[in-house]
């Protein structure tokens, strides 16, 4: 549903993306990793039409992001959760913030109410509904932003560092919900530095120096990254490989492998 073809983009300070080809199919879960300044956030902004490519094109459901008359259609089918939690909030309270987008979709009031309740419950932040966004912590704001995008039920959700400010328990919960949304058919583009967040994605892409340097399943890409010593990989993966076990992505699988290895001795 998303297609980038030979995309170039530069800021006045220099090139950020050079010759990027990327497709995200309907219902696919794509992870994007890269260092600060590697162009990850720029890529997200190009997909949603917030930025336009200097060369090449970006299409969402076959609509070019340069087609200003149909930009609204793109915005409806893609929802973006920004990295900076303050960049996104529109309303005064959490509820107002969530109502805004739904009213723009033209939904009837009772439906708006049901949906807001559903997603606040899903993310476990029902008690924040009437809170002033200003008084929320960074992590709470991140959850509210996520809810505000999920409530729109877009075809594709683009997440830019969605759990950088939340605690371990909350991170696990959010990642599970992202995986579930994906399972139910929502395409996901998940941008992060943290490899542990991406173990569930179908396809993992590494951006470095303006280009795509690695691409494949998490197992394939983590294997390459570990060999190249270029970027962090999930700790269970690194430990299992260094001990010569079959590579695993989770702590649970690592513990199982180690038990097997012990009884084999």
């Amino acid at each position: 549903m998303i297609e980038l073809k030979d995309v170039y983009f530069s800021y006045p300070s220099g090139a950020v993306l050079e010759g990027i080809d990327l497709t995200v199919k309907k219902g696919e879960y794509v992870g994007i990793m890269g260092h600060n300044g590697s162009g990850k956030t720029t890529l997200a902004r190009l997909i949603t039409g917030l930025l336009l490519p200097g060369k090449g094109y970006v299409r969402v459901n076959k609509i070019f992001t340069t087609d200003s008359e149909r930009l609204l259609d793109i915005r409806r089918s893609t929802g973006m959760v920004f990295q900076d939690p303050d960049a996104q909030a529109i309303g005064e309270t959490v509820e107002e913030d969530m109502v805004f987008g739904l009213e723009n979709l033209g939904l009837p009031v009772p439906e708006i109410d049901t949906r807001i309740e559903k997603y606040l419950d899903l993310l476990g932040i029902r008690e924040l509904r009437h809170r002033n966004i200003r008084t929320l912590s960074g992590g709470q704001k991140q959850l509210v932003n996520l809810a505000a995008v999920m409530v729109m039920e877009p075809e594709c959700i683009i997440l830019d560092e969605p759990v950088s400010m939340v605690d371990a328990r909350c991170r696990k919960m959010i990642l599970q919900h992202i995986a579930r949304l994906n399972h139910e058919g929502t395409a996901i583009v998940h941008i992060t530095h943290d490899p542990e967040e991406l173990i569930r994605c179908h396809r993992l892409i590494v951006l470095s120096r303006c280009r795509v340097t690695n691409q494949g399943t998490p197992h394939e890409v983590f294997g390459q990254l570990l060999d190249e010593k270029k970027m962090d990989v999930p700790a269970p993966y690194a430990i299992s490989r260094k001990l010569g076990l079959s590579p695993v992505l989770t702590i649970k699988a690592l513990l199982e492998e180690l038990c097997r290895s012990r009884s084999g001795n």
């Binding site: 800021y11 006045p12 300070s13 890269g34 260092h35 600060n36 300044g37 990295q83 900076d84 939690p85 303050d86 009437h130 809170r131 002033n132 008084t135 929320l136 912590s137 960074g138 992590g139 709470q140 959850l143 560092e161 950088s164 400010m165 939340v166 605690d167 371990a168 328990r169 909350c170 991170r171 696990k172 530095h193 542990e196 970027m231 962090d232 700790a235 269970p236 690194a238 430990i239 260094k242 001990l243 702590i251 690592l254 513990l255 180690l258 038990c259 290895s261 012990r262 001795n265």
Partner: protein, 272 residues
């Protein structure tokens, strides 16, 4: 020489139906020359405590003193906010870094000296001073924001999620700097990255729903977390070690790094 927090209570939206008790009778002592980690779930009160310690806002009840004085931002205490990149707005980075110092009444010469020596301390390229903050990437800008707070030379420095949305390389750099400067000042380190908090801190406190659930040393913290089987409070490597201990492997809970963990597991496998 310490920050003394006594019976500190803070309430948001007081006397409304949405009244929230953010901090509930907190007692903490943070001594100079240490890195003090502060962890807790979202909404546990970490950021509220941080802003009150930084002298931003008045607590509803209780007191905070810094070396016996009330917090005075920019003078006895400094804070690096979450997402500090948003606080840059001048034409060049230099103008941004200088504005606070000029506000403190320093001479231009002294301002130049402080900015350049701080950049040296952090290993930052002096050329970035002439660049627009809007053209620097997030990692560089975060270090620049950190440098800006350091130029104020606070005796107590609060870092609120300093490494959030930084890549591993920039994260390591920031953590190294923190370790290097912590001998002279106290650093209060707030983060969800437990691996990092445990690596950088000597003491730490856990906040749960506005109350202090634990305070003590790092090994004490790991024992506290495993004592109640609270995996979510353990950094990933310690989770692995704890899981192995429970399965009867002979390994230490407290490991410094990935290589250390791998070595311990290897030895334990050889022994069986």
């Amino acid at each position: 020489m310490s920050i003394e927090i006594r019976q500190l209570t803070h309430i948001y939206d007081a006397s409304t139906p949405w009244e929230t008790i953010a901090l509930d009778r907190i007692d903490l002592t943070i001594s100079k020359g240490t890195v003090f980690g502060l962890v807790g779930g979202i909404g546990s009160g970490k950021s509220t405590l941080a802003s009150l310690m930084a002298g931003l806002g008045t607590p509803a009840h209780g007191s905070i003193t810094i070396d016996g004085e009330p917090p005075d931002p920019g003078r006895n205490v400094g804070i690096l906010f979450q997402q500090p990149e948003d606080f840059f707005f001048e034409k060049t980075l230099f103008e941004d870094m200088a504005s606070g110092l000029l506000h403190l009444g320093l001479t231009e010469e002294e301002v130049h000296k402080r900015i350049h020596s701080t950049l040296d301390l952090l290993g930052l390229d002096h050329q970035i001073l002439d660049r627009s903050p809007f053209h620097l990437n997030r990692g560089t800008l975060r270090l620049a924001a950190f440098a800006t707070v350091l130029t104020m030379r606070p005796g107590y420095l609060i870092l609120d999620e300093p490494t959030a949305s930084l890549d591993p390389k920039s994260r390591k750099r920031l953590v190294e700097v923190i370790k290097r400067i912590s001998g002279d000042i106290a650093i209060i380190y707030i983060s969800h990255r437990l691996q990092e908090v445990v690596a950088v801190s000597e003491y730490l406190a856990v906040l749960e729903q506005g109350k202090v659930a634990f305070t003590g040393t790092v090994p004490g913290y790991l024992d506290w977390a495993t004592g109640q089987d609270a995996w979510e409070y353990l950094p990933v490597l310690n989770q692995v070690m704890y899981g192995l201990q429970r399965l009867g492997f002979d390994v230490d809970l407290n490991v410094a790094c990935l290589e250390d963990a791998v070595e311990q597991i290897r030895l334990s496998l050889e022994r069986t």
